[in-house]
């Protein structure tokens, strides 16, 4: 009950009087009920939290006081003191004060309450001159009692007690009456007839003497549709004519206006509501369609579809440029010299080998094979190419394929030292490892090649043995050569210089040769493997064979006449070559006439003695394990039939002198 009563009290007051009563209540020691306090209006969100907490505390305090009052007060109703609710001047010529009597049951006569007033320059309190004009519980001061810019004080009192007091100045309490005579006229309508403009005009409040200019009023217009709840406000303006634009003719509107003094902030009461109905003047459009809102849904749907279609068309389009523009391609990993397909297939071994060619891996390579550093490549040799081709031919076909599959060109320039294709072990057993025992296959292959080189017919495999021995001898003699990588180079030169055509012949024949008993070492890989060129043997052999093919030359290749030998074999003054040539001659099946031998021997020096030893059964192929420049060749001991076991069975070093001993 008590709580219900307090809102009533609060509603009857303005904002100022609320505070006033609050203050008055405080003066009386809190016996009066405190109405629910209005929250102070503070701007700024940064104060919001503090405000809320303050409000909460205030509210709790108020509630506590109300409860306390409730417990204290005996009566059911909330005890209310008489209060001056407000004082108001409508035109700055008169003013009135209003108060509430409160529920004092002690006051049997309502007139006990008096309103006393006093001007600032007076001492005595005077009583209200007119209690009636403004209604009950009011005091009306007419123009004779009103001094506009004079401070007044009024107080509500009974005989004994002063209940409330207020001080003000008349020019501060001006609250004009509402405007009157509102009406509206139609200005124009839109072409479709859906919207219309109207003009609202009114008269200023009759009490305010605006005409003489004693008071200047501002007006604020508010309007809304009939079934809306929130009013739309226009800015306050001085004129009494206001246009309203773009009203919907299908709807009805309500308009109300209030006024205030120009320099004050408080508005007076609202005027009566003006109803605007277009249908009354006959232009109402009931069947007009509602304004279509922006079709957001359709826009979104169509936009998404269009975008999807565009994207799909771009993706499917054949135009690469457009595709690249919209969808730039992701760069595939690229390493120089490596086919990306290789990476995809996952042949890591091959990739590693290629990567080994790059500088990053070179150090590892060197670590493994230190002796490789000492290899000198003779790049200037013109026979290089042929030798390279021979090497290719020497390799089996599948190796060639694998070679090409690795994507590495057999380019000797600069990369020969490291970029030799990693030929599988099955190729040549000219391995660098000391303990590598050559496979029998390698053995035989080499043997075959050697035979060819020795101008031996392939059919004569039996004679391969001595030829092999000769091969060995040749090899041994080869060791004298300083250049290991191109052992046949000098010989090649020696062969070529007298007979340039030999090589061509040989090359043509080399293609036919599938097996060579004797192979020329054309190159040494850094891994230590020997790259044999198949052609040399056949070169010599064939050359001798071909070149020496004379009508009287037997085809069995076993016998060469001295003259033929002389022809076929290049006579050089090089002592270095002599042993080889001699050996070649020697290796031609070993059958030489004494005369030829002697001639050759005479020509070529001491190595003639090596001829008879050709009869010694020697292995078809001797794998060279280590080549030490410039003086030594270490041959595979197994291949070498060493009568006197001076040779090391494995990885020994054979010097030239030793060789000379072996091969007398």
């Amino acid at each position: 009950m008590t709580v219900a009563a307090s809102p009533e009290v609060g509603a009857g007051r303005g904002g100022r009087s609320l505070r006033r009563s609050h203050g008055a209540g405080a003066r009386r020691g809190g016996a009066r009920p405190l109405p629910p306090a209005a929250p102070p209006k503070l701007g700024g969100s940064f104060r919001a939290s503090r405000v809320r907490s303050m409000d909460l505390r205030h509210l709790l305090f108020t509630l506590a006081l109300i409860c306390a009052n409730d417990s204290l007060s005996a009566g059911d109703d909330l005890l209310q003191w008489p209060q001056i609710s407000k004082c108001r001047s409508p035109e700055m010529e008169t003013f009135s004060c209003f108060w509430t009597a409160g529920n004092f049951y002690n006051l049997t006569v309502p007139r006990t309450l008096q309103l006393l007033y006093k001007k600032s320059n007076e001492e005595d309190w005077k009583e209200c001159p007119d209690y009636m004009t403004s209604g009950q519980n009011s005091c009306y001061f007419n123009a004779s009692y009103t001094s506009v810019w004079t401070p007044y004080c009024v107080q509500l009192a009974s005989k004994n007690e002063v209940y409330d007091k207020k001080c003000f100045s008349v020019d501060e309490i001006v609250l004009p009456d509402p405007p009157v005579n509102l009406n509206w006229t139609l200005l124009n309508t839109s072409q479709t007839g859906i919207h219309g403009d109207i003009q609202v005009r009114w008269d200023p409040p009759p009490t305010a003497d605006v005409r003489k200019g004693w008071i200047t009023l501002e007006y604020e217009l508010q309007y809304k549709e009939v079934n809306e709840t929130k009013w739309k406000e226009l800015k306050p303006r001085l004129s009494t004519v206001v246009p309203l634009y773009s009203l919907k003719t299908a709807r009805d509107y309500e308009i109300r206006i209030r006024s205030r003094q120009r320099t004050s902030e408080k508005f007076g009461e609202f005027s009566e509501i003006l109803y605007v109905s277009f249908s009354q003047i006959g232009i109402g459009c009931d069947h007009c369609t509602e304004e279509v809102e922006f079709p957001w849904f359709l826009v979104v749907v169509f936009g998404v579809c269009g975008l999807a279609v565009t994207v799909i068309s771009i993706m499917l389009s054949k135009q690469p440029r457009l595709k690249m523009l919209i969808f730039p391609p992701v760069p595939v990993p690229k390493i120089k010299g490596i086919d990306p397909d290789l990476l995809k297939k996952g042949k890591l071994d091959e990739v590693n080998s290629i990567l080994a060619c790059h500088d990053n891996y070179k150090t590892q390579l060197y670590i493994d094979d230190l002796w490789v550093e000492f290899i000198e490549l003779d790049i200037e040799d013109p026979d290089e190419k042929n030798r390279a081709s021979d090497t290719d031919r020497l390799l089996s076909e599948d190796h060639l394929k694998s070679h090409s599959s690795l994507g590495v060109k057999d380019d000797d320039s600069g990369r020969a030292s490291c970029c030799e294709p990693d030929i599988p072990e099955t190729d040549f057993s000219a391995s660098d490892t000391c303990d590598a025992t050559s496979d029998s296959d390698q053995f035989k292959k080499a043997a075959e090649k050697e035979e060819d080189l020795l101008c031996l017919d392939r059919q004569d495999n039996d004679e391969s043995l001595p030829s092999l021995a000769n091969t060995d001898l040749q090899r041994q003699h080869r060791s004298t050569q300083s250049e290991n990588s191109h052992l046949w180079a000098p010989f090649g030169d020696s062969v070529e210089s007298p007979r340039p055509s030999v090589h061509t012949q040989i090359s043509s024949q080399n293609s036919l040769a599938s097996t060579d008993f004797y192979a020329q070492v054309s190159d040494i890989t850094p891994a230590g493997r020997v790259v044999l060129s198949p052609g040399q043997k056949s070169k010599l052999g064939r050359a001798q064979h071909e070149g020496c093919t004379e009508p009287n030359f037997t085809m069995d290749n076993t016998y060469f006449c001295e003259a033929d030998v002389k022809k076929c074999i290049a006579v050089t003054s090089h002592e270095e070559n002599e042993p080889r040539v001699q050996e070649q001659v020697y290796n031609e099946d070993g059958y030489f006439t004494t005369e030829s031998l002697t001639t050759t021997v005479a020509n070529f020096g001491a190595s003639t003695a090596a001829a008879p030893s050709s009869e010694m059964p020697v292995a078809d192929y001797t794998s060279i394990h280590i080549i030490q420049s410039p003086q030594g060749l270490v041959l595979n001991a197994t291949a070498l039939p060493v009568p006197d076991k001076e040779f090391n069975a494995s990885c020994g070093y054979v010097s030239t002198d030793q060789l000379n001993k072996i091969m007398p």
Binding site: G23, M92, S120, A143, W149, D171, G213, T263
Partner: protein, 251 residues
């Protein structure tokens, strides 16, 4: 001279009614007047100044009517009143009142002793000359205290610059308004609307000194409150005076 400036200032501000020159009056090409007291004013004000001074009968010289002049000074006083109201609100915010705003004891303004009409009837009853004199007296009474107030308020660091500029503006405008009212008075006297007995009323100068002493005792917000009230007085008096000048209005 100051009237034209005041008029020009009135035209510059966003006030009610016409802004700038009267539409009926063309602006002739006039040389600048020689006046040391004039601060920078609008070009329109200067043009209007010469229009006032120009002798009747000159070609291309269209003098302003009294009504127009009154409109301008009324607008000017209205702006002064608005400014003082705003300044008072700002001062109240920065220096909150100790007591309830409506329970505050009446402020004692230094112009409280002046005898001014306190109602519309009184303003209508007293002679025009007296009304004009009251207006001028009020403006004179506030001239000096306002300049003191400006100097005093500049040392206030708590106040925002907006308030300080407002106070300065008010001071200037009051000076202009006084000059403007004097011009209007001269015009009226020249036209015979009011008598020339105003020139004898020089007593306002004597009371100015004592008044200004009292003004220094007040607090800033009280000071501005007093001024706000007096500016409202001035505006109302000017309106009534204008109404009384026009014969067609039954003021």
């Amino acid at each position: 001279m100051a009237l034209a400036r005041a008029v020009g200032r009135a035209g510059e501000r966003a006030g009610s009614g016409r802004a700038g020159a009267h539409p009926d009056i063309p602006r002739p090409d006039i040389p600048r007047p020689d006046a040391a007291a004039l601060s920078a004013g609008a070009a329109a004000a200067l043009a209007l100044l010469w229009l006032l001074v120009c002798a009747p009968g000159d070609a291309g010289c269209h003098p302003l009517t009294v009504a127009d002049l009154f409109d301008r000074v009324i607008r000017h006083s209205g702006r002064i009143h608005s400014l003082s109201t705003a300044l008072y609100a700002e001062l109240e915010k920065h220096f909150p009142p100790r007591d309830n705003e409506l329970g505050r004891p009446a402020r004692k303004c230094h112009t409280s002793g002046m005898l001014t009409p306190n109602g519309k009837e009184y303003a209508q009853k007293i002679p025009r000359e007296e009304l004009t004199h009251v207006i001028l007296k009020l403006l004179q009474a506030w001239k000096e205290p306002l300049s003191h107030f400006n100097q005093h308020i500049e040392h206030h660091q708590e106040l925002p610059d907006d308030s300080l500029s407002k106070a300065k503006q008010i001071s200037n405008m009051v000076h202009e308004l006084k000059t403007g009212v004097e011009k209007v008075t001269e015009k009226m006297q020249s036209m015979g609307i009011i008598s020339n007995s105003l020139n004898g009323m020089a007593s306002s100068e004597d009371t100015g000194l004592s008044i200004s002493n009292e003004a220094n005792m007040m607090s800033d917000s009280d000071f501005i409150h007093c001024f706000r009230r007096d500016s409202n007085k001035v505006q109302s008096y000017l309106k009534i005076l204008k109404c009384r000048i026009m014969p067609e209005n039954s003021c």
